[in-house]
Symmetry: C2
Subunit: 190 residues, 2 copies
Amino acid sequence: MVNVIEFAGGQAGPWRVTRIDTPVGDGLPGAARLSVGLGGDEVANEASPSPGTTWRLRGAISNLRYATRDEVVRLRTAQPPLDRPDATCAALIPIKKSARWWELAQDERRAIFEESSQHTKIGLGYLPAVARRLHHSRDLGEPFDFLTWFEFAPEHEDAFEALVAALRATPEWAFVEREVDIRLTRDAAG
Amino acid sequence: MVNVIEFAGGQAGPWRVTRIDTPVGDGLPGAARLSVGLGGDEVANEASPSPGTTWRLRGAISNLRYATRDEVVRLRTAQPPLDRPDATCAALIPIKKSARWWELAQDERRAIFEESSQHTKIGLGYLPAVARRLHHSRDLGEPFDFLTWFEFAPEHEDAFEALVAALRATPEWAFVEREVDIRLTRDAAG
């Protein structure tokens, strides 16, 4: 069974929103806090969400779509878990890719994703500083295709900015038609 | 926006169930008729489904996950649309693949899917007789990973049996841990 995760922006949740930027396309309504939880149908359609919720985004934790075995091994070896006590900074970056991207064949998408844009290779350069979890939203009929969640310690904020800038400069990003960048902090775990 | 389609087995719908086989794993409850419709969250969670509905399966019409550009071109050139007036036979084949399949990397899954099992190549051999639409269910938290819908004229029933038998004999099918095969007919369009 695949887990569907829901990110809810509003007045509740452990994460404090510090900034919402919209690099391309329509933005999201303002939110002061973010909560992260399980988001099955029964949750997403419940009659009474948290008061003050201004948006809810859902995505499924699913299989990797482009990584080769060699890349999977390198990722699994290097990537840290979520919820590290010192990782008090986070980012939620929902993106939507264009119809032109989705009409490409698998080999064409793979070639842009890795051979020309080096998406996995760039990400590997920021491990283990930046923990990451990808959520697939497109098949759920959501407004975005992907929700990527990142966690890192405050001393790695510059590294995270460099990672995001490097990805946005790739040929792959020419297919991104909507992107919102939500930055967050929480109190350090006791 | 991706379309989510719902298949509902029970007492209602234009398709009459002629046979339900279960090649592997758990079966589905009996059903006399099948309906096919849009299946967004609001539909799937509505309070009053058709009386007599015994099961509902949902899947998203999504992008191809393995086909190369060359294969996509050959598929799009040869594949017929659904709803042909003489295509009064149909099959709905829900399958679930094993955890071992989903843990494979993309290049490993592609190699099994096409280089060793020739999934696309086998299917191309039965075009344009058999129309087909694939629905992705795994990210929706459904009990099956895929729902494949086929339509064909009665004179192509033997060809369809050969197609299904050829696919079940592939190395890819060793990863199928649940499969139900629902055969249907409807009256010819006026």
